[in-house]
Amino acid sequence: MSQFQKKVELVRSEVIARDVVRLTFNALEIATAALPGQFVMIQIGSGKDPLLRRPFSIHQTSSEGYLQILFKVVGRGTELLAQYRVGEQLSLLGPLGKGFVLGEPSKACLVGGGMGIAPMLFLASRFQQLTTQGVVPKVILGARNREELLPLIGDFEALGLEVLAATDDGSLGHHGLVTDVLKIINLGSDFTVFSCGPRPMMAAIHHLCLKEDIRCQVSVESAMACGMGACLGCAVPLKAGGYAHACSDGPVFEAGELLWSL
């Protein structure tokens, strides 16, 4: 495994929706080594406050060495990050963690909710590269409303994928949850669901998959200090008891291994 700590240049900053920002870095080594589901830790500011790096899923990479993240402004770190200007340098650490275990593209269903859509684009494009028969993976994306979801759907469509949308307010696609859509499309048990989003969404997906006997991989979040297995801060309770570590054992886990009641 090859991981890097690099000062990289911000080459593009886009406001995708209200409080949702996409940054593009020129980060050759990290982009080249990255796998879908992995993440980077970004140092924000040069001072000691905020002190810790912030973790972000890798949203997209390009063969030229560009790496994108997609994030929502939720606190001080993300607020400062959104203010960076093109040309400024930031320190990135990555690629970190274990990504999704890919399989047959035609038997894959990607489900992203909210900012959980971020890693799904990278995963989708990797699947797309693997597709031979022209049978592409299914994609279900959910968000609060049209405004938030629409700009993201375009990227998946640009890959030639059809997106099934769900919004909380019904302003785009299905009026309701991504799990409703998942139920409707009725996957066979030879499918694998790849999912990232809010915890309740992933719990619902896990339970649905369990019932339908579908394999399900989820990408989870946990407060992180190091991102590389050193601090043991990012504990994720396991069904079998004890804890895994989101940064090094995950962030992608087989849903069935985790304890969902917590």
Binding site: L52, C226, G229, A230
Partner: protein, 313 residues
């Protein structure tokens, strides 16, 4: 262990902690560097003064439920709960990697009773590559044992003596800052035969989420580390340096070479870097480089000239 030899043209960064010779005074702090392997892509591990591994107990511990960490102003709280694989799996699975690096490996140990401390020390005594034992008597996250040990000079002395008897390697006792007078504990530890003291462990702190009205840590309280605590750590190192003759290892909020050298001026022979590793996994190498540059530019005979060289009055 052979005294480290210096290459020609190199600046002299060597220090000794009792019978332990280090190529430079910069070590990792326990619990912040895993078992070293985690950092192999980011830092040249052979350049570390020493590796101090995550605290090891007799039996494996699964640790506290999440959330285990939270950021605070210029610092962080952790309540890992001393998660570790236990001494047996440590020896079989974890120790081989750091012990092959060619730098001293110091094993941080913790227990719920004096007997437990002794037994871990005994288990480690013969293990290849264990250069010293650091006794963690001060971790605030374990309710039994830990706290009581670390703040009561008598208990600390008993634990120190017990560990000393159980092994041949140098014994470093790591002091808690959560005491009225750290010099009393330091003296007790010295009198009980410790080869060195290291300080400080984390300050006990707490954070609250206003929205949920809950503590931000599942454990309610946790250990405060990082730049925020540096002034307290520096003061305690200075105070302890006035009363003990055994070597002192300075810890707390060190992120730069300047920080490290300030601890040495205050009386530390060596330093440990903790939280800074999370922000900059190359921190230790950067600090070593920075010290070397300073020693060269200031034309000091050796880095040892800094130890206790604070001008007061």
């Amino acid at each position: 262990m052979e005294p480290v030899k210096m290459k020609k043209d190199e600046v002299d960064l060597r220090v000794t902690i009792g019978s332990l010779s280090l190529q430079n005074p910069v070590m990792t702090a326990s619990g912040t560097f895993g078992y070293a392997r985690e950092f192999e892509d980011f830092v040249d591990l052979r350049r570390l003064g020493a590796v101090v591994v995550k605290g090891i107990s007799l039996k494996p511990r699964s640790g506290n439920p999440p959330p285990r960490i939270v950021e605070t102003a210029c610092g962080m709280l952790n309540a890992i709960g001393l998660e570790n694989v236990g001494v047996d799996r440590f020896i079989s699975d974890k120790m081989p990697y750091p012990s092959a690096l060619g730098v001293p490996v110091i094993v941080n140990i913790l227990g719920d009773s004096v007997e437990e401390y002794s037994r871990i020390a005994e288990r480690l005594a013969g293990v290849e590559g264990v250069a010293a034992i650091e006794v963690n008597i001060s971790c605030p996250n374990v309710k039994k044992g830990g706290v009581a040990f670390g703040t009561d000079p008598k208990m600390v002395a008993v634990v120190t003596a017990a560990v000393k008897q159980s092994c041949q390697v140098p014994v470093i006792v790591k002091l808690s800052p959560n005491v009225t007078d750290v010099t009393v504990v330091a003296k007790a530890v010295q009198d009980a035969g410790a080869d060195a003291v290291s300080l400080i462990n984390t300050l006990i702190g707490m954070a609250i989420n206003l929205t949920s009205r809950r503590p931000r840590l599942a454990n309610i309280i946790g250990g405060l580390s990082g730049p925020a605590i540096k002034p307290v750590a520096l003061r305690m190192v200075y105070q302890v340096a006035q009363v003990v003759t055994i070597p002192i290892i300075g810890i707390g909020g060190i992120t730069t070479a300047e920080d490290a050298m300030e601890f040495m001026l205050a009386g530390a022979c060596a330093v440990q870097i903790g939280t800074a590793n999370f922000v900059n996994p190359r921190a230790i190498e950067d600090v070593v480089d920075g010290i070397a540059t300073y020693v060269r530019e200031q034309q000091l005979g050796s880095v040892r000239d800094l130890i206790g060289a604070l001008r007061v009055g």
